[in-house]
Amino acid sequence: MKKLYGHPESLKRVSTKYCAGCGHGVIHRIITEVIDEMGLRERAIITNPVGCSIWADLYFDFDSVQPPHGRTPAAATGIKRVLPDHLVICYQGDGDLAAIGTAEIIHAANRAEKFTTIFVNNAIYGMTGGQMAPTTLVGQRATTAPYGRDPEGAGMGYPIRVLELLATLGGTRYLARGAVNNAVNVRKTKQYIKKAFQAQMEGKGFTMVEILSQCPTNWQMDPRESVEWLEKNMIPYYGLGEIKDELAANEDAAAARIYQDDAVACREVAEGMPAGVRHAEDESNEPFAKKGVA
């Protein structure tokens, strides 16, 4: 008899430390389901962030590396460059990715690093106890925004739409935003993850799936209320779906051709210059400008 459903091999059979209603458990589950489906458990490496999912190594039954807060894209860069045939997953929360690690994520994405970032956005710092995150919504309360996030009056800034920010970068090939508020979105999110992992294994450049997730404890709600809050507030602001998808065959081929042309142009420019002088003059930038590659 064919087995249709079961506990993923890549996920340990233990209870998590996560709070009731937290999204991490579901996200761990769908990541490991995809890894199993793709048969990649023995070639999967995850970089754990700092935050609630710091314990990911207790749950994922494959290799992990724990870098400092926000630095996982840099560490994952090192891992993936050394092991290009492995599935490298960068698991990050909103404080990790969009505050302390902003430089690392932008530059890893721009370099088209071939790992996949799973970005869990619950609009709050969880582990440290409910401080304002870069993705905290305007008006949302946090221990460090006791009267609610006030973007300009109190100088707290605006909630950052990370995928839209990254979409302008030439190295990003697939950026999608899902949620784990209901079964439909869980299934869609899983599809996004699978698409991203497949693209990674095909060497197609930077891929990232942002997942809107509940944090009932720090939102100070019960799990059911937190799902409603996410639906009423987070989904309308952030929006779900594939924000950027350059994976389609024809687009990809076209993009590859352009990048290849640029590489040739780049080499020609460098070779035509006196030894030791490699800074390009204005006209040497033309091949890039003409093709309009970001």
């Binding site: 023995e42 190594d57 724990q66 090192g78 891992i79 092991l83």
Partner: protein
Amino acid sequence: MKGNEAIGEAAIRAGCTAYFGYPITPQNELTAYMAQNMLDKGRIFIQAESEVAAINMVYGASAAGARAMTSSSSPGVSLKQEGLSYAAGADIPLVLVNVVRGGPGLGSIAPSQADYFQATRGGGHGDYYTIVLAPKSVQEAADLTYLAFDLADTWRMPVVVLADGMIGQMMEGVVLPPSRDLADLPRRDWTVGHMHGREARHLTSLDLVPESLEAKVRQRFQRYEEIKAREVRYEAVDVDQADLILVAYGTAARVCLGAKKLADAAGLRVGLFRPITLWPFPEKALAQLAKRGKPFLTVEMSMGQMVEDVKLSVLGQAPVHLLAHCGGVIPTEEEVFEEAKRLLGRG
């Protein structure tokens, strides 16, 4: 060959397969050398967005099995301290070259030894040490860089090559070590990837149970004791009959060697003691010399940092003096000679 380039070539020959750097003077030739030569050899080179990112790329690359390295100069090395602490805590080997410049802050771009405290006391947060190697010449910069990779692998910890702007920028003849066969590097049985049926590995510095973390740190310090017993390196010149012993490392030791020659010519008995490993510090050898009760003159391109280790080694058995310059100022042979004469009552 320029010191910075010799360091780069020695690293490549030692089997460095991944280098990550960020521009900063006076070590820029090293990053440029690695860009050209690592890429030509199909090895990994990335100009990172920051020193913070570079050290974490090293962390990841080493965790995945590469002999990995980064380099910088003082302000940049401060930025790397976070990553260094994590690497020490997760037992991940790496090589960090610091071509030291004058500080604090942005300071100057001239040679300095003011990062001694940072290098020999771990540098980042938490209980840990790194092995610290201090070259005095371009030749030694190459040799010690080469050695650093083996030490890092042997002891599974970060190794710092503490050069300075003089070593990095000057040109000298150098005999380069042979190229290591990448297939023949020391085996690492702890890296991530290629599970092949084994249990999952988790490389982390995290342990939230105090007793468990203490046990791990104590075990690491046990290893540090072994390193102290086996890896101390120093050079001693004419110390046994000396009436005064100069103590200096790196560029300052080169100056002291010149001063010693002036002293020899003047008929003074001056010796030179030069630590090559700054951690582990050659404390026993120095303590042995101190038993004779003759004075020491520590010469440093800082306001006096190593002198504290000299005093800790000597433990009051002999007077310890200091000749200090900072900010990028290099002491002269004549100045050291004059101070030696003064201390010997011949000034």
